[in-house]
Structures are given as C-alpha cells and as structure tokens.
C-alpha cells in the first residue's frame, strides 16, 4: 500500500474560506423561513459584524503578507494573493445574497408592522417632523470635512458610515467641484422612528442627512451623494517586552488602530464616480476590495431594531436560564462541593451560581483568598464588584486581567484600574502569551482545615455572554485539581515556575501534545472488534498537527466525530485518509462555544473540557487549561450531550469533502440540540418543584 502524504495540500481546507463557510451558515439562518423574522434580522446583522472583524484581522493580515512579498502557501497550498482573490470572490457572492435577503426580509417585516421607509414614502406631516428632527438633533452634531482640499487627507475612521458628496458653489457654476465628506454621527440612532397611526415606521439616519445636505453646505449645490464605509487593518502588534507598561501600550494601541491601512470599502451601488475614484485613490484599494451594496450599508445597524422591545411574536420563545439541576435546593455551596463535583451547562442553566460563588466568597469570613482570570468581561459585572468588595474585606484577591483580548482593550483598562484601587493584586497577563484559561479559586479555612473550591470553564466570566453562548463549567473541591489551579495562578503571578501538574494541562507546548497523546492512545487501543471512538466539540479545528493525528486515527480505524461550529481545515471523507471522520456544525440561537473532548479509551471512557480550541494559536501561544471530568455522573452527562449534538437533524450541517456544508438529512424524529437542552433544564427544575410539593408536611386540621 502506497503511503499517503498527510501533508499534501489536497487534504487541507483553507482556513479563511472555511471561516467564510461558517459565516455563510450564519447567513442561512437569516434566510431560513423556519426562523422567526426578528431572529433572522439578527443573524443577517451578525453576518456583517463577523465580516467586519474578519476583514480587520484576517484579510488585513494577508494583505500585509502580500505587500511584504511573503508568498509562502498555507497548508492548502494557496499563496496570500490567491487566498485574497478567493476571499473576495466568496465575500462578494455572500454580500449580494445577504443584501437580497435583507430586502426580502424587510418586506416580510413590513407586513408585520415594522417598516423601514424611504423619505419619499413619508406622509407630508411625517416628512415635516423628520425635517425638524434633522434641524434640531442632527445638524448641530454634523462635522463636514472638506476632504479633497486637505493634504494629507483627513483620517476617515474605520467601520463608520460616511456620506460622500460632490458640491459646487451655487453662484459660480464654473467653480471647481469638490468632494466632501460628512460622517454619520455614531452617537445617534441609525433608525429614526416616525410617528405613525399603527406599527413601527423608521427612516434611515443617513437618508435624513443626505436630504438635508444642502443645509450643511450653505451656498453650495449638491451634485451627487454616496454612502460609504471603510474597514481598516485592526491588527495591533502589542510589543509587550516590558509588561509593566502593558496597560499603557494597550491604551496607545486602541488609539492607533483608527489610522491603519484600509482593507475594504463598502459603497452604495451607483455611487458617483467622482466620489468613488477619489476614495479608491486615497485609500489605495483595488477594485476587488470595493463592495457595491444595493441596499443598506452596515447591516450591523439592524441590531437596534432587533433589540427594540415588543414584537415578541416575531422572536423565538424565551428559554429563561434555569437553576442548574445539580444545585436545586442547595443552600450551602461549599458543603455540596465538599461532597461532589457540579457541572453547569450554560445558558440553559443559569450562570448565577458562578457569580454567587464569588459574591459569597467575598463576604465569607472564612475565605482567605480569591483568584480569578478575567478575559472579556464587562466592567459593571457583578463579579468585578464582588472582587472589589472581597479586597476591601481584607481578602487576598488576585485577578489576571487579559488586556490583550482583542477589541475589548479599552473596556478592560478602566475596570482593571478600579480593581487595583480596591486593593486587588492585578496582573496583566504574561509576556508573550495570552491568558485564555478560565479559572476561579477560592481558598477557605474551615474548622482549622484549608479547603479550596475551584470553578473551571470553557467560557469567559462574562455574565452577558453567559446568556448567549453555550458553555460548560465545572465546580469542584478535588484537591489535585485545586492544587493545579493554585499552581496556574502562581505561574501567572510569577510566584513560581511550573512545578508539574497532577490533573490539568496548562502550558503552551504541552497542550497540543496532550491532545495528540490522547488521539494516539485511542489509535493504539482501537481494534477491529472494538474500534476506538473520539467525539469532540470545538469551535475551530485548524492546527495541522492535530489534523494529521486525526487522519492517522481514521486510518487506524478509529471513528472520529467532530462537531465544529466554525473553522474546520480538516477534509473529511477522503478515501484512505479520513473516511472514518465525520464533521458537523451547529448554528442556532446560542453561539456554540463549549469545548468537550471524549475518548472511548477501550471502555475506560475519558472526558475533558478545555478553554482551548484546536487552533495553532490556542495551543502554542496561549495559557489554556485542559481538565478532566472524572465524576462518573458528570462524565455521563457530557457524553449524552455530545450524542445529542450528533443527533441534531434540525440545525446541524455536515461538512462535505469539497469543503461545503449541507443540512443533515432528517430521518426519524426531529432533534434540535439546543431546544432539547433548554427543555431538559426546565424539566429538571419542574420535576424538583413537583417533588418538593409532594413532600410538604401535613398541617394538622385542628380548627
């Protein structure tokens, strides 16, 4: 048998194109007739915000490579410029479909009473009110730029909607035509509500500004208008050689991000060529980087409509977060954790117990220390407030704030300072590595004994995203895990170097090896009678060494079931390489975010959870945690969850060998994983309440 080269480019799907397929799956939800209208609008808005980030980071990175003449192909054999071409073609197709989808969706919404109108569709009375609104609220905050006259051209910030105009003096028709720019103020709502007898009537802010442009440039004639939006390179090389100054570096970085090179221009279809030519020249963009949009620019703005109260008939029914089934009726969390481990499945089960764990620890006189990693959290979060209080109560509070969390830097800096002021020991990550691990440790002295309580999770300590992301967390007092978590914090705070781990895998360099060892062991124990089984749910699979290990597993007869929400560079179903590998993806109302790893291990089943995806950057450049779930009941629950994910035939799509995705054919009853989990969480609470009622003591019927 000839040996197949597992490095062959044919065996890899390009990362960027795979990501675009993910965004396409998000868009499919927005186009699906089975999804309520406002939810569809939300998905279509997400498509845009996703693309913004994609262009700022990924496309910008490839452009940098192209201009530096770095021509090294990616594992799928594509050079940077080949990738950029492919991305541009795919994105143009996607944007056209999205724009068309939005138009149809707006028609459907109009039938339900939500109408986005053009100015000319307004009743005279309404038009008058809009003009008044413009004069009173909008005009005073407009800051027009005489763009063409200035050299260098004033900086037009990225991701902001602008109105470009060609103007000329009214009196002197022979005067020069000039291109000027009016930024659409971001502090004003993009949709202006117009009073109407029934339903919601909205006009777009940019149309209002365009209509009033004459008032902005008195004495001038507006010859043409166009809307446009620039996306700029958002990569910031954070030089953190001197970590003590990291706070300062990040503040600078946030500021400079605005003046990076342009990578994309979105412009309304039929834009005047004088405006377009001026823009492409100034921004130094190629025609393929310009997206002509025959509709509303920046669909992300639809969030403001999605978030409007009311119209619940156009939304999915609420699935309120439930009390976690393992904590129903629990009064003393510490006592429960002394006895058993607790699994939390969010957002079906509430994140509140995690918040309470920190809040209780902050007030508990027996608690000596609280240590926590915070990566992407909000400043006014109850956890941050509890940590402040704990420090004020004299507890030793150590907080690792990861400042390098992209796009959140500005937000992070402010509350990090607040924690410092309260007396917390705040560390801003470690040099060269992003800290992506999510861990909480409470040290308590209880009747003369030290007890440590740990929470480890796949998701961030962010009470907002914990309602929108599907994540899994575990609370435990297992002393080996607690010792390891204490060591993680000693490592992060510089109190100690790595000292050898009992249960956790933490360090970059070891993380990947751990996964590869687990895969290799599965190959080893796999026999034709009892084939090995790997079930994994992650957000992305891109690391080449992991992919190769999975190919070896498939070749060795191991069945590999992957549930990968986003990027998957592995090509399934290739004869002799990956015919035992199946890849599915679920895009539903909650963002799939949990990372769960199952290995049959010859019957001694093992389940791990992790903060890490199977991405090169997670495994090599970040501090992550892989932890085992050893309690049999918890392990069983996670295995059952994985099975439900693979049984989903409503929202799941399957990756085909050509890199495209197709809906999983529906056989038998419909299974929708997220709905099932929500139902189970509610049923558990209901069952518990029912039981409680039954056991209520009888009151003596005296009087």
């Amino acid at each position: 048998m000839s040996k197949i080269d597992l490095k062959s480019p044919d065996l890899y799907i390009n990362r960027e194109l795979s990501w675009l397929e993910f965004n396409d799956r998000v868009m499919r939800e927005g186009l699906s007739d089975d999804v309520p209208l406002l939810e569809r609008l939300k998905f279509l808005a997400i498509v845009s915000s996703n693309l913004d980030e994609f262009f700022m980071i990924r496309v910008a990175g490839l452009m940098q490579q192209r201009s530096a003449n770095v021509n090294r192909p990616d594992p799928s054999g594509l050079s940077p410029s080949e990738q950029l071409d492919a991305i541009s073609r795919r994105t143009h197709r996607m944007v056209a479909e999205q724009t068309e989808g939005i138009r149809k969706l707006l028609d459907l919404l109009a039938d339900k009473g939500i109408r986005v109108l053009e100015l000319k569709e307004l009743e005279p009375q309404q038009a008058k009110l809009v003009r008044q609104h413009f004069a009173r609220e909008v005009l005073p905050v407009l800051t027009p730029l005489a763009a063409q006259d200035l050299d260098p051209c004033p900086l037009l910030p990225g991701l902001r909607l602008h109105l470009g105009l060609v103007i000329r003096s009214k009196r002197d028709k022979s005067a020069e035509e000039k291109v000027v720019v009016v930024p659409v103020p971001s502090q004003l709502s993009r949709f202006v509500a117009v009073p109407a007898d029934e339903g919601l009537r909205l006009v777009r802010l940019e149309s209002v500004i365009a209509a009033g442009a004459g008032q902005v440039f008195p004495g001038c004639e507006v010859l043409a208008t166009a809307f446009f939006r620039i996306t700029r390179d958002g990569n910031v090389e954070i030089q953190d050689d001197d970590a003590s100054d990291l706070l300062h570096v990040v503040e600078e970085a946030v500021h400079t991000r605005r003046r990076r090179a342009a990578v994309r221009l979105e412009v309304s279809t039929g834009a005047d060529s004088r405006i377009l030519d001026w823009l492409t020249t100034t921004l130094q963009l190629n025609p393929e980087d310009v997206y002509h949009i025959d509709g509303i620019l920046d669909a992300g703005a639809f969030w403001s409509i999605v978030n409007r109260p009311g119209y619940d008939a156009l939304r999915l029914p609420d699935w309120p977060p439930q009390q976690p089934r393992e904590l129903i009726g629990v009064e003393d969390l510490w006592q429960v954790l002394d006895e058993r481990d607790v699994l939390l499945v969010h957002p079906y089960e509430s994140f509140e117990p995690v918040v309470q764990m920190v809040e209780r620890a902050a007030e508990d006189p027996s608690v000596l220390a609280i240590k926590q990693t915070l990566y992407r959290t909000s400043g006014d979060s109850p956890i941050v407030r509890a940590l402040e209080r704990a420090a004020e109560n004299g507890k030793e509070v150590t907080v690792l704030v990861e400042l390098k969390a992209r796009f959140d830097e500005a937000r992070n800096v402010t509350w990090a300072r607040r924690l410092e002021d309260a007396g917390c020991h705040v560390i801003y990550g470690i040099v060269g590595f992003k800290t992506h691990a999510k861990a909480l440790l409470v040290v308590r002295r209880e009747s003369g004994r030290i007890r440590r309580y740990v929470h480890l999770a796949t998701g961030n300590y962010n009470d907002r995203t914990a309602r929108l992301y599907s994540d899994v967390g575990m609370m435990t007092s297992n002393r080996e895990i607690a010792g390891d978590v204490a060591a993680v914090f000693n490592l992060l705070t510089g109190y100690s170097e790595a000292v050898g781990w009992s249960k956790l895998t933490v360090e970059p360099g070891r993380l990947k090896q751990k996964f590869i060892d687990l895969i290799d062991r599965e190959i080893e124990v796999s026999t034709p009678d009892r084939p090995g089984l790997i079930m994994v749910k992650v957000n992305s699979l891109q690391d080449r060494d992991i992919i190769r290990a999975l190919y070896r597993a498939s070749q060795g007869g191991v069945k590999v079931m992957l549930n990968i929400r986003g990027i998957c560079c592995l090509r399934p179903g290739v004869a002799g390489v990956s015919e035992n590998i199946e890849v599915r993806s679920i895009v539903d109302r909650y963002l799939e975010h949990a990372r769960i790893f199952y290995f049959r291990n010859g019957g001694h089943e093992e389940v791990y959870l992790s903060s890490a995806d199977w991405m090169h950057r997670n495994l090599e450049r970040r501090i992550e945690i892989i932890f085992p779930v050893t309690a049999p009941a918890l392990r069983r629950r996670l295995i059952d969850m994985l099975k439900v994910y693979f049984a989903d035939n409503v929202k799941a799509r399957q990756l085909l060998p050509d890199g495209t995705y197709q809906k999983v054919p529906r056989k038998g009853t419909a299974t929708r994983a997220q709905e099932r989990f929500a139902k189970e969480a509610a049923e558990a609470v209901h069952a518990a309440q029912h039981t409680e009622l039954r056991f209520q003591p009888l009151v003596s019927p005296k009087e």
């Binding site: 002394d338 000596l368 040290v443 004994r449 100690s496």
Partner: protein, 521 residues
C-alpha cells in the same frame, strides 16, 4: 475510584507546615497540611530559578545579584506562609550555600529581610531526608527494599549516593559531581555540545573510579534516581509504573536519550523540550552522571522516583506537629548508631541493655525532666555508643567516647544532636560536668541542661547493667517522698549494682532531687 477525591469532610483541625529548600539552581517551597488522620496533603508547590550554585562553584562565594534575587523570592514565599498561617517550617540550604565563604552574610540577610531561619544542612542529612521520602513513597515497590539498592540524586553541587541493604541505610557518600559544578569547573560553555559531553563523561568516569573502590556498586541490584533531571529522563524515555509516580528507564533508553541530548546546546534543548534555560543547562551533565552510575551497578534499569528532599522534610514536619515519634527516622538513627558501635567493637548486648534501661527510666521520669521524643532518641543513641571510647584505650574511655562520637556522622542526627549525644556519653562515668570542661561550657544553656538530665539517667542505667550478660527485665519503679525506688525482680544478687549506684547515682540526686534505692523483687 479517583472520581470524587474531595477534600476530606471531617473537620478536625489540621496543621499547616512548609519546607523550603535553598538549592543550587532554584529555591523551592512546599506548603502542606498535616491531617489528624495521619497523612499529609500538599497545598502548593513553588519553584523559582536562581543560580546560586554558579557563583559558589565558580568563585567560592555567593554573588550579589543572586543573593538579592534569593532574598526577594524568600520574601514572596514568606507571604504565602502568612496566607496559610503555617505553624511549623523548616528551611534548609544545601551545597551552594554550604560551600560559600559568605554563607553567614547571606543567611543573615535572609533573616533580616524575611525572618526566615535557613539552616545549612550536611550532605548526609540531605541524603537521609531524600531516602526517607523515597522509602515512604515506594514502599516495597520494585524490591528496592530487598537486596542492595542505590539511591542517587545528581544535584547542582553534588551527587548524593545512598546504599540500602535490605531496606536499611548501609552507606552513603556525597560526590563533588554536580551538574552546575561540572559545568563551572570544566567551563564547557565555550565548547560545542558533543565535545563538551565528552569532557564531562571523562571527568565523571575519573571521579567515579574512586567511588567504586569505596562503595560496593557492583553489588547493587536496584538503582533509584531522584531529581529533576532524572524525572525528565523518566518522562522522555521511561515507562510509568502503577500509581506510585514512578518511571522505569531501561539502560538502553537512557543511553539513547543521553546521545540525543548531547548533540544539542542548552538553548536548543530548552527549545526542543520546552524547558527553562536553568533546567536545560544542567540536563546533560546530570544525565551523564546517572548513566555512569547505572552502568557501574548490576541494575539493568533506572527507577525514577518523583520525590525529593522536600518530601523528606515534610515527613519529618508531619511527625513533629503530630507529636509522634518518626519510626523511620528512629530506625535509621538506631541502625546508624549500632553500625558505629560495631565499628568500635562495642559489646552490643551490653550497650542495648543500657540503652533500653535508660529509655525506661526516661519514660518514668517524664514529668521530672519534661523532655520529648527527640531527646529520648538521643539518650538511646548515647546508651548504644557510651563505650566506643574503649576502642582507643580503656583509660578515661569516656573522654575518647566524647570525641569519637562528636566527630562521627550519625544518620538522622544533626551537628547539635550529635554534640549532645557525645556529651551524654562522656558523662556516663567519673566526673559530672564542671566549669573547667570547655566543650561542655561551650554548649548553649538549654543543651547543658539536656546533657545533665540525660547523663544522670544514663549513669543509673549503666550501674544497673553492671552484671554483664544479664538482661534487665520487668523493672518497676516507686516514688516514696524523696526517694526513687527501682525494683529489679528476680535478681539474685545486687551487690555489684548497689556499689556502682553508690558511685554513679550522685548526678541523679543532684539533677532530679531524689535519692535512689535499689530493691530486689
């Protein structure tokens, strides 16, 4: 079974202890809880690289920069001790500090900055601690406790070798072959990696030649390696064994690893294996030492144990805070004392008889002297060794006993302990302590009191054992007002004993304020 290894729920107060080890390439600390049920649970381990050894082994003194770094780290450690409210701490320093000419300055600076009293320990103490941890961890695993076993640790400054015979310490030696010292003395840094490995191998072979003539390496059946570099070998080419955190490395596997590693510079090794530079640097010299040792024995494989001297320290601390006698320590001390007694041709039957009688008296007089288990052990050792001086001369043999003991190495006893034992033995006959006895006067006051209390007992025990070859059994005691009555049942004739007691009982009456009386039956 491991599924829910929750922290114990029975809320009996535990004691928190900590061990600090100021080594030649790192400072380490382990904080643990000693639970009333008997076992110890490690709470946290700390490790910070500071290359104290480099300065000492190159220039004979600790450098300013590494001293400052060490003080800073110990200050951090101190902070953790406070968080856990550590009740008992032992901080020790090994060769890098031991051999530094400015060790006292360093220790003083540490004390002033942190309040930590760091104790410089001898190599024999180092090996004893490590060995006790190895034995505790391995139990009877891999038959280390049968036949001849060698336990070796290649540290930064020296390589410690201990030979066990049937599980007891038979011999120990420290070689001035440490991974950092080797690099510093040979200054191999300028050489290429392969040439440097050759130089090292040559040097180690030479040093080992002497060892082979002293230690019976060729009789060794089991070879146990301890230390970070050995653990590295275990992880790389070893096979994990059971739940005991052990690895077994075959001779061939070790050879292969050494060959592979000696092709690379420390920088390359660090990158290749993800090691910090301080660890990558010592790897090849240490592995060469283990390799050379393994090939000098009959063992076919190297057993790697994960324990360290710090685990030995913890064991002792655990015994201490539980107020228990550390049986392993006692056994090893007694074993070592008896070997010493045999070396000086002591009549062991008599010596044991005296020692046991002394201990019986000690226990009976507990309320009067108020001393603890450690002193009981010292008395026992003094009983075993009181006559070693006869080897030199029968004239004033108690004085010879003093200096022979004072200059001997007794496993498990530190210098201060040994000095007390030597004094107790010295005063087992003839004069009681006098101001003209300079060595005695040089002792701290508390030690002098201990010597008096123990020597007074030893003299009585020696008097009771006057009739050689008669085992003293079923001793009974009575207190009658100012009288301490010793009943020796079934002894037909106590003339000898009574006469001896008349001479030797003086010190007892002085120290304990009771007159002695000997009765039959």
């Amino acid at each position: 079974m491991e599924a829910t290894q929750q922290e114990a729920t029975v809320a009996t107060p535990a004691k928190t202890v900590a061990a600090i080890d100021v080594g030649s390439n790192a400072l380490r600390m382990v904080v643990a809880e000693v639970l009333p049920e008997g076992h110890t649970e490690v709470l946290e381990r700390f490790h910070r690289a500071v290359r104290l050894g480099q300065d000492t082994f190159r220039r004979g003194r600790l450098g300013g920069q590494s001293m400052r770094a060490a003080v800073g780290i110990l200050r951090d450690f101190r902070h953790r001790l406070e968080l856990y409210k550590v009740e008992r701490l032992r901080a020790v320093a090994t060769s890098a500090v031991r051999e530094a000419s400015n060790a006292d300055n360093f220790l003083n600076r540490v004390f002033m900055a942190t309040g930590l009293n760091v104790e410089v320990i001898a190599t024999s103490e180092e090996s004893r601690l490590t060995v006790s941890a190895v034995r505790q961890a391995m139990g009877d695993a891999l038959s280390v406790n049968r036949g001849h076993a060698l336990i070796a640790e290649a540290g930064g400054g020296s390589t410690l070798l201990t030979i066990l015979e049937e599980g007891e310490i038979a011999a120990s030696q420290s070689l001035r072959l440490g991974s950092i010292r080797l690099q510093e003395t040979l200054s191999t840094a300028e050489e290429g990696p392969e040439r440097s490995a050759d130089l090292l191998r040559h040097h180690i072979d030479n040093a080992m030649a002497t060892t082979r003539s002293v230690l019976p390496l060729e009789r060794i059946q089991s070879f146990v390696a301890v230390g970070g570099d050995a653990r590295f070998a275990g992880r790389q080419v070893g096979r994990p064994i059971g739940s005991a955190d052990l690895y077994v490395v075959s001779a061939a596997g070790l050879d292969k690893l050494v060959r592979r590693c000696s092709l690379h510079s420390p920088e390359e090794l660090g990158k290749k294996y993800g090691l910090p530079f301080s660890e990558a640097e010592t790897l090849v010299p240490a592995l060469l030492v283990y390799q050379c040792l393994l090939h000098s024995t009959r063992a076919k494989r190297m057993i790697v144990s994960h324990v360290s001297m710090r685990d030995g320290l913890l064991l002792e601390l655990a015994h201490y805070v539980r107020g228990e006698e550390d049986t392993a320590l006692v056994t090893s001390v007694i074993h070592s004392a008896e070997s010493l007694a045999e070396k000086y041709r002591v009549d062991l039957v008599h010596a044991r008889n005296v020692a046991e009688t002394a201990v019986r008296l000690f226990d009976e007089l507990q309320p009067d002297h108020g001393l603890g288990a450690r002193h009981r052990l010292l008395l026992r050792v003094a009983g075993l060794l009181h006559e070693v001086g006869s080897f030199v001369s029968n004239v004033a043999h108690h004085k010879h006993s003093y200096y022979l003991i004072a200059h001997s190495e007794i496993f498990g006893l530190n210098r201060d302990d040994t000095e007390i034992v030597a004094h107790v033995a010295r005063y087992h006959r003839r004069s009681s302590p006098k101001p003209s006895h300079l060595e005695y006067i040089a002792l701290p006051r508390e030690s002098r009191m201990v010597v008096n209390k123990l020597a007074a007992i030893l003299r009585v025990a020696d008097a009771l054992a006057r009739t050689r070859g008669r085992k003293i059994e079923n001793l009974r005691f009575q207190r009658r007002s100012d009288e301490f009555v010793i009943c020796l049942p079934g002894a037909p004739d106590l003339v000898l004993e009574r006469r001896s007691l008349a001479v030797k009982g003086d010190m007892f009456e002085d120290v304990y304020g009771m007159t002695l009386r000997l009765e039959e039956g």
